[in-house]
């Protein structure tokens, strides 16, 4: 399968600007991140033949930092899950240094874990999503994957920051990535959620314990904590994400862009047929779940949002006495077990999706084995992104030293 759906060929663009933090770094983006003139179909027939009319907010910011855009990878439909995604593969094949990926359930982190590299999801609301074609607005964000955590910091420094064109961005302080190199990580305490452990096989647990040693040698104390409603994180995520997906996929009407089914006799048939053909089975099943919450059981959506508030607060309470929560990034699975249904997709991201629900920053740190998963997944307080990345760099350094 082709790695790229579009490659930058203009030699001037390929060289990037010299003497800047990201000079010489090649960034691969997904085709749901608007780059003027590049195909931008978000992996879906719903945007068939779509070409971006303008740049997403992050594009000029990356370019100003010296990075150059290598091209568009392949992605899963509308960024839901990882099936057919080649973004991180471009790093493995040395075609790019940094990957930007939509992270809705943990896609960037899990892809990074499988490739044995670093993967980062920032706090929700610190990077403008203007120009990002998404599915689940209250949870998704740009994720960054790279072998070197310094590159992740460099990208975050470049792309984070206020933007008037993203109306969903909250006010208030943002993490300061420029000071990150100097951040003292101090002694840290990390918690392991007991309820999470019950999701792991013995083998997963063994690999996880091995990886935890990294933290120990970086001076991080690990304690066991309890989060009785841990299981609800997944359910709340699913209910809210499905409802938001159904709502935000409403714009794919086959009128202004995307696939139009031929021969419809009237307006309703045009919508039914076009949208019926526009979405693949996985996304369609997810949209039907969302339609169920939107139109048949809206109370469940509201209730999921009530539960969300409680879960966010539980998380804050836990982290009032801890600096981090730690878990594996992804369980070991059979290599080719591609999830074909929504349930399977959620199973795959069960350890990473809590951070999307609660809007916290999370970092995948490669462990042993590098690849095939487990990894180490660190979740910090909201807006504590910079300290989390600093710890990531220390762990990378100690790994390098080993």
């Amino acid at each position: 399968m082709e790695l790229f759906t579009h490659r930058e060929t203009d030699p001037a663009a390929v060289s990037g600007r010299p003497g800047l933090p990201l000079s010489g770094r090649r960034v691969v983006i997904q085709p749901n991140m608007s780059r003027r003139g590049w195909p931008c179909n978000a992996g879906s027939r719903a945007l068939e033949n779509y070409t971006a009319l303008e740049d997403a907010a992050i594009i000029p910011r990356l370019e100003k930092s010296g990075a150059h855009l290598a091209g568009n990878s392949r992605m899963s439909e509308l960024g839901f899950g990882l099936s057919a995604d080649t973004t991180v593969q471009a790093l493995i094949e040395k075609e790019a240094d940094i990957a930007l990926m939509t992270d809705t359930m943990g896609e960037a982190r899990v892809a990074a874990a499988r490739a044995g590299i670093f993967g980062f999801k920032p706090s929700w609301g610190i990077v403008s999503r203007f120009g990002l074609i998404g599915l689940v607005p209250s949870m998704e964000c740009y994720g960054v994957a790279a072998a070197d955590p310094a590159d992740i910091s460099g990208v975050m420094q470049a792309i984070s920051g206020k933007d008037d064109r993203d109306f969903s961005m909250p006010d208030g302080e943002l993490p300061d990535f420029s000071q990150e190199g100097k951040t003292k990580t101090g002694s840290r305490r990390a918690g392991i959620v007991k309820e999470m452990l019950s999701l792991l096989t013995d083998k997963d647990r063994g690999l996880f314990r091995e990886n935890l040693k990294m933290l120990g040698s970086a001076g991080v104390e690990v304690v066991e904590v309890t989060f009785p409603e841990f299981e609800l994180l997944q359910t709340a995520h699913q209910v809210i994400a499905a409802a938001e997906a159904s709502s935000s996929a409403g714009k794919y009407d086959g009128v202004r862009y995307g696939y139009r089914a031929p021969g419809a006799k009237n307006w309703n048939d045009m919508y039914l047929d076009s949208r019926g053909a526009a979405f693949g089975t996985l996304v369609k099943a997810f949209l039907f779940q969302g339609a169920y919450f939107q139109f048949e059981n809206y109370a469940a959506f509201e209730n999921a949002c009530r539960v969300r508030r409680r879960l966010v607060r539980s998380m804050e309470n836990l982290l009032s006495e801890l600096d981090l929560l730690v878990s594996p990034t992804c369980r070991m699975v059979r290599k080719d077990a591609a999830p074909s249904d929504v349930r399977g997709a959620y199973e795959e991201f069960i350890l990473t999706l809590p951070a999307n629900l609660t809007g916290q920053p999370a970092l995948q740190v490669p462990g042993d084995p590098a690849g095939d998963c487990v990894g180490l997944h660190l979740t910090a307080k909201r807006l504590d992104d910079s300290r989390l990345l600093a710890l990531g760099r220390r762990l990378a350094a100690s790994r390098g030293a080993k």
Binding site: L53, W124, F167, L232, V255, W267, N268, L272, L287
Partner: protein
């Protein structure tokens, strides 16, 4: 003060001059002239002016009068006087008199009104001062205030009179009113049922009646002979602007009768109720078979207020060399047209060709339209050169074309399509050119409907499966023969609207069973759905028939209101929602638990069952995503999983405010206050990604087929 000697505002007049009157009602409007205060006092009967003046009322009464505001509920006594010359108000029937108040009680104060209620100006010469643009949902939310308006009261009073006229007449004719159940079993009208869960039989449901059809037939079996009911019916249909989820119908059935009885009875009844609204219906009502209606107007509910009837031109073109017609006729098609008399000047070539032929008629489903104008004794058109002289002459003769006439022709291999498209065109042209006279009522009986309609792989009843066919010797397996059967059904149509319909029913079990067989129902299905009814037919069922009339619709037509909601006291809005009570609404988990509905279908999959299929189809419809072959099982499973998630979340919900975003944004506005056009719109870049564009617009399929 008591209410004992109360007079009614609207009934007062000069004969009452000098009388002391006791009144009660609402302050419709008021004018404060400092010392003297005038109010319009309104009760159901009308309005009278009341004057509070220091000359006739003591200080305390005048002080209280100063507190009055619109819609205060008050009691007033005073003496009735003739108004001073030049101060009469011809805008109200009591405008020559007024009441000089002596006493005043404020019975109820009113807060700020959501909209104005008063419809009558206090000053002569001014029209009613009500603003017309009150949003309907606001009116419905405060319906009790909206109903204070004399117009609305008039509607309800007239509705009462109409219904009473129905009851009186049917009583005279020996009909008795019998109530049938509201909690009942699903009936076969074909719309969705409203369901009511049963607590005693968990996970079992009553259905609200879509009509009392089976019960009224059972009443005939029971020997009631002549029954009627002003019945409430419920249908969970798709939303339409002039449709209510519940509606009232006059339901009627009689034994030992035939069609003529129904026609006679119902013409008299219809004439009586229209006369309540001052409308004299021409009688006897004309009758038209369904086939004639289709052939001459393209509709099974023809609007006969204007003619412009179809004429069939198929024969004229049997030898034609005009390729398009040739091909259509070779495929067994037909050619029909209408003559729009004398409208040539208003139907320009541009309108005919670019609007009608290219846009409007294709919207009606036809591929095209042929137009010709009668000019200088011949025909003029963009295609007339393809017609032979003989064909042109015969067209002129067939359509009796005269100078200034426009002939519109539609040809298609499908007779049905020609009728339907030309029928819509007939209405469109007549509406556009104002050829439909107002204020006249054209009733009509449409008869001899097809008994069945074709559906994929079989037939379905056009009316309902209890309708008597015109002959009974048919083979229930022969679809072609079934489609040729006519029913003994009749519709009452007025001005192109179906007001009612009915039929002579089947009273023979064997025949009824053959109809079910023709419909492809298995014996089990028949037994499950209609077993109780078939059993009743086995006990000496008399020949019988009946009819039903939509009361809301007929009252609305008689009173000339803009929608049926104007003649219903507490209607739902266009979205089937009641803004007053906010129904439908969620119910507590406790109520659902009691009904054992909390986890309905939650854990247990229901794939393949009809209910689940319908549910998926309704989700498919509301989300406008077609389920394609092979996806159904996966989607069904996903929706079941969503139900489980919902059950789990609902059980854990708690009482906190929902969190829709972990870090909510504050409200923002774009800088500047001028509307700006997006540069992509200005430079038309937005069309670059569009699948279909036409002349600076996104092109879509038409809204209607």
């Amino acid at each position: 003060m008591t209410f004992k000697d109360r007079s009614f505002c609207g009934t007062l007049g000069e004969p009452d001059e000098g009388r002391r009157v006791f009144l009660a009602g609402w302050v419709d409007a008021l004018r404060d002239h400092g010392e003297v205060i005038f109010i319009h006092l309104r009760d159901r009967s009308g309005i009278v002016q009341v004057v509070f003046s220091p000359e006739t009322a003591d200080q305390e009464v005048c002080r209280k009068a100063g507190l009055l505001r619109s819609e205060f509920c008050v009691r007033v006594s005073g003496s009735l006087v003739r108004r001073a010359q030049g101060t009469e108000n011809p805008g109200i029937p009591t405008g020559n008199v007024e009441v000089m108040a002596a006493d005043l009680d404020i019975l109820g104060r009113a807060g700020a009104l959501p909209f104005q209620i008063s419809e009558k100006s206090m000053v002569a010469g001014l029209a009613g001062n009500r603003e017309e643009s009150v949003a309907e949902d606001l009116r419905l939310q405060y319906r009790y205030l909206d109903l204070r308006r004399p117009t609305m009261q008039e509607h309800l009073i007239n509705r009462h009179r109409i219904v009473k006229a129905v009851r009186d007449y049917l009583d005279e004719q020996g009909f008795i009113e019998v109530e049938t159940p509201i909690l009942t079993k699903s009936t076969p009208e074909g719309a969705r049922d409203y369901l009511v869960p049963s607590r005693h039989y968990p996970k079992n449901f009553y259905a609200l009646p879509q009509s009392p059809q089976l019960f009224k037939q059972l009443l005939m079996v029971a020997g009631l002979e002549r029954y009627f009911q002003i019945a409430r019916c419920f249908r969970d249909e798709d939303l339409r602007p002039n449709r209510q989820p519940e509606f009232t119908q006059l339901d009627l059935e009689a034994s030992f009768i035939d069609e003529e009885f129904i026609y006679r009875l119902f013409e008299e009844l219809t004439a009586r109720i229209f006369s309540v609204g001052g409308v004299d219906l021409p009688r006897p009502f004309p009758r038209m078979t369904w086939l004639d209606a289709m052939n001459s107007t393209g509709s099974d509910r023809p609007d006969l207020r204007f003619s412009m009837f179809f004429r069939d031109a198929t024969g004229i073109f049997s030898e034609t060399r005009y390729g398009i017609f040739r091909q259509i006729l070779d495929r067994g098609g037909c050619i029909k047209g209408i003559n729009v008399k004398g409208q040539s000047a208003r139907l320009s070539k541009n309108v005919l060709q670019n609007e009608y032929a290219k846009e409007i008629v294709p919207g009606f489903g036809a591929k095209g339209m042929t137009w010709m104008r009668a000019v200088n004794g011949g025909l003029e058109s963009n295609i007339v050169q393809f017609f032979s002289k003989r064909e042109q002459d015969e067209i002129v003769r067939l359509y009796e074309a005269e100078e200034g006439d426009v002939i519109l022709i539609i040809a298609d291999p499908s007779w049905k399509l020609v009728c339907s498209a030309l029928g819509q065109l007939r209405l469109h042209v007549a509406g556009r050119l104002g050829l439909i006279p107002g204020n006249i009522f054209s009733p009509l009986w449409v008869t001899d409907f097809p008994l069945f309609e074709p559906v994929e792989g079989g037939v379905t009843s056009s009316h309902h499966p209890f309708t008597m066919p015109d002959r009974t010797d048919f083979d229930p397996g022969d679809i072609e023969e079934l489609l040729s059967l006519r029913s003994r059904a009749y519709d009452l149509v007025v001005n192109g609207e179906e007001l009612g319909g009915g039929s002579i029913r089947i009273n023979d079990t064997a025949l009824q069973n053959r109809i079910f067989k023709a419909l492809g129902l298995s014996e089990n299905e028949v037994e499950e759905k209609f077993g109780f009814f078939l059993r009743a037919l086995e006990f000496g069922a008399p020949p019988h028939g009946g009819i039903a009339l939509g009361i809301d619709r007929v009252v609305s037509m008689i009173l000339g209101t803009s929608s049926i909601r104007e003649v219903i006291a507490f209607p739902k809005n266009r979205s089937a929602f009641c803004p007053l009570t906010r129904a439908p609404s969620t119910v507590s988990a406790g109520q659902l638990a009691e009904l054992e509905l909390l986890d309905l279908g939650g854990a247990a999959l229901l794939p393949g069952t009809k209910e689940q299929e319908d549910f998926l189809d309704s989700l498919s419809w509301v989300s406008r995503i077609r389920i394609n072959g092979g996806e159904r099982a996966a989607i069904s499973e996903a929706v079941e999983a969503a139900k489980s998630c919902a059950a789990k979340i609902n059980a854990a919900a708690g009482e906190e405010e929902p969190m829709f975003s972990v870090a909510p944004a504050s409200n923002r506005t774009r800088p500047g206050n001028e509307a700006r056009e997006s540069r992509f719109a200005k430079e038309q870049d937005i069309f670059r990604n569009a699948p279909e564009v036409k002349g600076g617009f996104f092109k879509t399929a038409s809204i209607l087929e």
